[in-house]
């Protein structure tokens, strides 16, 4: 079973995918003509990804591909029509990319299964070998025992017989001796000796004759062969035929979109013919810094299930868990499966309302991850609000957003509902709270972290106050590189889009203000308009009159304005390179700076004497603002 063959071969089309075949085949043909897909395989595979057809990535050069090819589609003659085919190529390419990733995942899983099956069989082989080895060992042990026993017996019998033999020999010798003695006595010429010796000798012969001669064998000639007890060998042999303990199951990798914030759906399978009574699933969280000694390791939880799947609940969001499973039957418990790592889905992000900005063509959304640990990416979803303020289905998703912010291209003069999801291997989180974005005019909040310490900002974030009280010196200590230290000013968080932006500032006759724009990198210890990185309209109050300056690089044209504006309109046009100021109430043009603004600029607001001003934005620019 060569994995590379699997990879190179064609996977079967699953019935449910067949309906997509016709639609996609055309695109596939197109794709083949225009851009070869990475492998020559069919683009269908077992694990389908629930992606939205209108996928697109960060706003970029690619145009949005249309979800389905138009009905009057391919005249092959015009296959090389630029826009359409490009869009289709992009769709197909994205789909292919997704499916290639899925296939690789699948191939990896197959590899694991292959290895596990190999292992399982290996173990079964081993098990068998061992079993039989055990049996053989036992048998040979028995044999040795029996042989030794027989040997012993033989020795014993031989010894006994030998003893007997010796005894017989001795007896014979004794008899012989006696007889010889008797004969000697009998033959003795000496009658007196004879008479002396004859009676004891006759006695001895009588005694000897009375002696029973033991003529029976001391031992039997038969060997004792007890029945050998082979029952244990029998059980061992029997047990070979008995159902073995199961082999290790194979735990599946995590299926996309199967997890929730607090639960995981785990699946596994058994790649052998084992009978299984139940499974036990073990799991424990994987901690960031696992100490070397296992004494502090998190506790392992266990669930007993009969099916080959289980939903584990009460888990932490955006957390990685290690899971393994064992199978048990009457014989015993299988070895544990490989450990699989699963992740729960993250918690939903939290959109930071005050850090979102918009303009007629786009919106910049910023959010907090909502998770302590990193997630893989974010998905931004938006839907356009209908005129009757009903919510339409999600019209667009932007996936694979790597950071906690996203610039979205939008249509002018509409209202959108935007939400964000955090995504990790486990799948997407729930939707964050929705934020409403209106593409009428330009909307921004003030960057409070840039505000001079004497400046306080109203709760709604649009009015600034320069109070008359002396600030304690300790407050100055809070200043950092980002706050204005001399000019009592604050910057606005304008969306970095090089289009047209318009906002208004409400002041009163007595307010000495500086209103305009500044580069993001303007020196914070400088005054607005006094450097080359800011442009502003300045109102100065002298004892006798009102003076207006339009400052840049410390210089201003010499102007007289007869009616003091109390509502100043500011119009920034990046493309034309203009920054214009208007008296909104009179629709009167006051002055225009011409500069090509190489860097992004931000609205700036400063007060030169105690007073207040209010920023109004999200207003559609009046016609005269961008003539």
């Amino acid at each position: 079973m060569d994995l590379f063959e699997i990879r190179g071969g064609t996977l079967d089309v699953i019935a449910e995918e067949a309906e997509h075949q016709d639609l996609s085949r055309d695109s596939t043909i197109m794709a083949d003509r225009e851009a070869r897909p990475p492998r020559g395989v069919s683009t269908f595979q077992r694990f389908s990804v629930g992606t939205n057809e209108s996928l697109h990535f960060e706003p970029c050069e690619d145009s949005l591909p249309s979800p389905t090819p138009p009905e009057d589609e391919l005249d092959d003659d015009n296959v090389f029509r630029e826009g359409e085919t490009e869009g289709e190529i992009v769709t197909v390419r994205n789909r292919l990319q997704g499916k290639v990733a899925e296939m690789e995942n699948f191939a990896g899983h197959l590899e694991e299964i292959f290895l596990t099956v190999e292992e399982n069989f290996g173990r079964q082989e081993q098990h068998l070998e061992q079993h039989y080895n055990d049996v053989l060992l036992t048998l040979s042990q028995r044999y040795d025992e029996r042989a030794a026993g027989l040997e012993e017996e033989k020795k014993g019998k031989l010894e006994a017989l030998y003893k007997q033999l010796l005894a017989c020999g001795r007896a014979m010798d004794a008899s012989k001796e006696l007889i010889e003695t008797a004969q000697k006595v009998y033959r003795s010429q000496d009658k007196r000796l004879f008479l002396k010796a004859v009676m004891p000798t006759i006695k001895r012969i009588e005694d000897f004759a009375k002696e029973e001669v033991e003529l029976t064998l001391s031992t039997s000639l038969e060997f004792n062969t007890p029945l050998s007890d082979m029952s244990d060998v029998k059980t061992m042999m029997d047990s070979i035929n008995v159902v073995p303990a199961p082999s290790a199951p194979v735990i599946n990798p995590q299926m996309p979109n199967s997890a929730s914030q607090t639960s995981l759906r785990v699946c596994w399978s058994l790649f052998s013919d084992d009978t299984v009574e139940y499974y036990e699933l073990y799991y424990r969280p994987v901690l960031e810094d696992t100490p070397a000694d296992s004494s502090c390791a998190p506790p392992v939880s266990k669930v007993k299930v009969k099916e080959t799947h289980c939903t584990v609940a009460d888990l932490l969001p955006n957390a990685q868990y290690e899971l393994w499973v064992t199978a048990t039957n009457t014989t015993g418990i299988s070895p544990a499966s490989e450990k699989a790592l699963y992740m729960t889905v993250p918690s939903p992000p939290v959109i930071k309302q005050r850090e979102c900005t918009s303009c007629p063509e786009a919106a910049l959304i910023r959010w907090e991850s909502g998770n302590t640990n990193p997630v893989d990416s974010y998905t931004v979803e938006l839907s356009e609000m209908g005129t009757d303020a009903t919510e339409n289905a999600i019209t667009e998703s932007i996936v694979a957003v790597p950071t906690c912010q996203c610039v979205i291209q939008l249509q002018t003069g509409r209202r959108y509902l935007i939400s964000v999801r955090a995504v990790n291997i486990g799948g997407p989180s729930d939707r964050s709270e929705v934020i409403t974005v209106s593409t009428t005019g330009t909307l921004f909040y003030l960057l409070e972290e840039t505000a001079h310490s004497c400046l306080s900002i109203s709760e709604d974030g649009f009015t600034i106050f320069y109070g008359d009280e002396e600030l304690p010196i300790s407050a100055m200590a809070l200043d950092d590189n980002n706050t204005f230290s001399r000019c009592v000013a604050v910057l606005g968080d304008l969306i970095p889009v090089r289009g047209r932006h318009y906002w208004e500032v409400e002041v009163d006759d007595g307010t000495e203000f500086r209103i305009g724009v500044a580069s993001e990198d303007m020196e914070r210890n400088s005054y607005l308009g006094a450097n080359n990185t800011s442009w502003c309209m300045r109102h100065i109050l002298t004892p006798s009159r009102h003076k207006f300056e339009f400052l840049h690089g410390g210089c201003s044209p010499d102007l007289r304005i007869t009616v003091n504006p109390v509502r100043v309109g500011v119009a920034l046009d990046y493309e034309r390179g203009t920054l214009s100021f208007f008296n909104v109430d009179l629709e009167q043009h006051l002055h225009t700076f011409h500069c090509n603004f190489p860097k992004y600029v931000q609205p700036c607001f400063g007060l030169d004497n105690p007073g207040a001003l209010t920023v109004h934005n999200g207003i559609e620019a009046p016609e005269y603002a961008f003539i």
Binding site: L559, T562, H589
Partner: protein, 282 residues
Amino acid sequence: MSLTQVSSNKCAGGFQKVFEHESTELRCKMKFAVYLPPKAETGRCPVLYWLSGLTCTEQNFITKAGSQVLAAEHGIIIVAPDTSPRGCNIEGEDESWDFGTGAGFYVDATEDPWKKNYRMYSYITEELPKLINSNFPSDPDRMSVSGHSMGGHGALICALKNPGKYKTVSAFAPICNPVQSPWGQKAFSGYLGSDRDTWQAYDATVLAASYSGPPLDVLIDQGRDDQFLSANQLLPDNLIAVCSEKKIPVVFRLQPGYDHSYFFIYSFMSDHIKHHAKFLNA
């Protein structure tokens, strides 16, 4: 009222023409220049009346001011009349360059021998518009006025004396307070007599103080190095003070390095035409 075309040159996609006619107010033949933008071929266009300054004719503006490209872009007809009646043979009319020929001061003279011909105010405000509206594709409801120096004075007084007639007004180095300036005093005493009260009817600063009418939006450019400014002929401060008090919206720009010439006018003409376009094309 018949018109005779004197010249026609294609310019910036439109036509710069000069016409002559017999003026009823001025009782003499008068020339005026008309620029017709490309848009005039297909529809009615608003009209900007340009009043030139001392010693000018209808030629100076159309050859030196660089107005045609912007006029074409915004679709505005520009009418530039002469600065006084010509060939009337009035005694003393050619004695000075700042009184008589080429120095009509846009008043209706009441003194002899000027009162018969020197009726530039009525010519500009009555006869000329009627003539233009009957002979050219102009929109009679949309007109505005501008000028330089003496013409600036003329533009300001026409606008202030005719609330609502002109959609807007602008000026280059205008004589803001003729009653206080040597030029004005010379001209007014000649044309209007010694009763200074009669002069006030033609003084922008005075008129501003009593202006009541639709809101104006005035743009004034003044060269800082203008010799006549330093000679106290122009007196813009007086006008600004009055307008500040009376809340008449004025944006007055002092342009460093610029003098009284057409080079100065040329440099800021586009700003003025854009200013007029805002109101004429609204």
